[in-house]
Subunit: 216 residues, 4 copies
Amino acid sequence: MTTQRTLKTAKKNARPVRESTRAEKAENTRNTLLDAAVKIVGRLGYQGASIANITAHAKVAQGTFYNYFESRQDILDQLLPIMGRQMTEYIKSRMDPDTHGVEREKQRITLYFEFLAEHPWFHRLVNEAETMAPKAHKVYFKHVSEGYIRSLTRSLERGEIKGYTVEQLEAIAYMLMSTRTYLAQRYAFSSRGAVKPVPANVISTYVDVISRALYR
Amino acid sequence: MTTQRTLKTAKKNARPVRESTRAEKAENTRNTLLDAAVKIVGRLGYQGASIANITAHAKVAQGTFYNYFESRQDILDQLLPIMGRQMTEYIKSRMDPDTHGVEREKQRITLYFEFLAEHPWFHRLVNEAETMAPKAHKVYFKHVSEGYIRSLTRSLERGEIKGYTVEQLEAIAYMLMSTRTYLAQRYAFSSRGAVKPVPANVISTYVDVISRALYR
Amino acid sequence: MTTQRTLKTAKKNARPVRESTRAEKAENTRNTLLDAAVKIVGRLGYQGASIANITAHAKVAQGTFYNYFESRQDILDQLLPIMGRQMTEYIKSRMDPDTHGVEREKQRITLYFEFLAEHPWFHRLVNEAETMAPKAHKVYFKHVSEGYIRSLTRSLERGEIKGYTVEQLEAIAYMLMSTRTYLAQRYAFSSRGAVKPVPANVISTYVDVISRALYR
Amino acid sequence: MTTQRTLKTAKKNARPVRESTRAEKAENTRNTLLDAAVKIVGRLGYQGASIANITAHAKVAQGTFYNYFESRQDILDQLLPIMGRQMTEYIKSRMDPDTHGVEREKQRITLYFEFLAEHPWFHRLVNEAETMAPKAHKVYFKHVSEGYIRSLTRSLERGEIKGYTVEQLEAIAYMLMSTRTYLAQRYAFSSRGAVKPVPANVISTYVDVISRALYR
DNA sequence: AATGAATGAGAGTTCATTCAT
DNA sequence: GATGAATGAACTCTCATTCAT
């Protein structure tokens, strides 16, 4: 997920022409810690993300942690923004620009489920954040809802969406966000934490509903 | 949630009208603890609901707690079912039986927001439960979704809802549940935890969407 | 192990000619508690013998306990004397009075192992008592060693045991007591707490040693 | 039991002769904790060896304990092996290699009592271990009995011990172990916990018995 | 005499954070 | 900048004992 220096720092030609800069190294450690934190929160939840756990995973001493983050809460607050951006980029980069109307919504939710399948801990990261990292959660929601609203606004302007005013779009955005989250929760995760594909008829129901509600 | 007279009134007119203070007191203590727990989870989250906190609030010794609950998790698992039942009963008892169609949905979400206004901690109780009391959360969702599905099925049979099969109703139920939750989160709570009324145009947007999606 | 009232108190002929006296009932409860304590210490050790455990087993309320015993330590201190007496009586009552010399020792240790087989918790009761009920332990050891010494004195007087003075008998008694305890510990108990018969050759080695040391 | 220099002296003459204070200090803390535990178990029994007690005695914070031991049981399990080794080494190192026959036994038990006089808590450590640290107890007994058996086997081979087969030696070893333990318990400790010398005639009785039983 | 709810001290353990090296 | 030992408050839970009923 981040700059990862190759493990072999190449001991060859011992006189170092230029060994990785201090800044680089530091950045490296920082990212290692973030990576570790993301993995652990995904696996064990925020609760399980103790400093001991994170630093052990990152293979640095506990003390090192505090050279990069002010507190435990500090790093927890950074996780969701990072992963959230990654999620939205995942979807954005894979959306077909030529698809329009409700088909875009179908694509969007399908890609969302796809992302969840690849990053199963993401759902947990978001959900628990409301409690464990409220600031991060707020930022994340703002980020995602704004993306939604932008998209809906364009559809409205293009005349694909009919019968709503711009002022109503925010509420609608929240409805779409909530919907995909709950559908994932209900249909994408089995009791034992494993991920399974969301049934096609669930997706098509979603599309039906959205289509009638917005695009008709 | 509050004092419930014991079923067995027993001891067919033994001396005092006043019977079995022992059992009453015990039931009282139990309810005091549950009340305290609900309040604290609402205010500080499940995390903050330590035994020390709960018992202090209930003004009993820490040891007393374990006369009524097996463990901390035990009481946490009981909170959502209790409050969930209370919530659904609140709504059910206030629904006008003569209202039909999308108006019922409007009534339902309005009552839901009303309930939240009276029990602001309820939202937190539900949300965190997914992590902190997963079993309770699962039960709660089953309970609520089943209610929704029953209601939707009737509307479908009456011909108010058109264009969907019975199989699609579960997914739709989850969409409705999620929607009201996220709208509450976004519009009912101010940043400082206070509750505010959900704007009328948000509700009417919700009604518009549902109306077009289902009742037309 | 104690007076045990029959369970059925015979509800027949309801007018009580004479329902068990108060004193009887009390004695009964007391013994029930002692029985429960013995069983629990045998199964779980002194540590596991909590008041809650004992009273639950005896089917009385916790408070009742303190009508019969001053404290937890009080009852623990009574267990070993009771069981110790039972053990010595078990052996004494089964010893063949016509057996003499080292054969008596063989009989004694065999009966001891037999008693352990029937009361496997006895070994634990004695061993832990040194720590958990030191007073009781001291009394028990005095009791058992005095019995041994009496017996050895008679053998000495009869001329079966040769080469020792009366003053040496106490030390010898302790050697015999210790020996049978350790042999039981090593050979009578399997790792999973079960009891198994002590191998014949262990017993015969014991007899050889004792025979040469004392009776020759 | 005390400071053990780390094996790796490492850093081939880097600047200071004084190396790695870090590791030394740590080792120190560890030993302080072990020492404290040994003393407390000796004085108050395993029961009294609470973390609070141990750390207070060692003058470190309670949390520090868990930097060195996984759990309370962990340290308790380590005490007997450590002290047991110390005991056997104490005796072995002081045994006169030129002494043979029953005189060796006399020397052995005398040294045992001597060790107990110097480490009065040892007896308690061993005795309670059967309950409080069963694994450690098993290991200790194996260790000690094997030493005994080796020694007895040699005596048998040299012809000092007569009339027994190798198979009988284990039982005999247990008899010797048990004997010295019980004699110590009876004669070395006064009621108020103080240690007193075992009377000479007790030792000579022991020697008489062993001599006749084995060496004649 | 019997009850069992209430008590509160104390148990083992975890963990974010600090700081001398 | 990196280390990791030390800290101590806070956690959940147990239990002998008391006492009003």
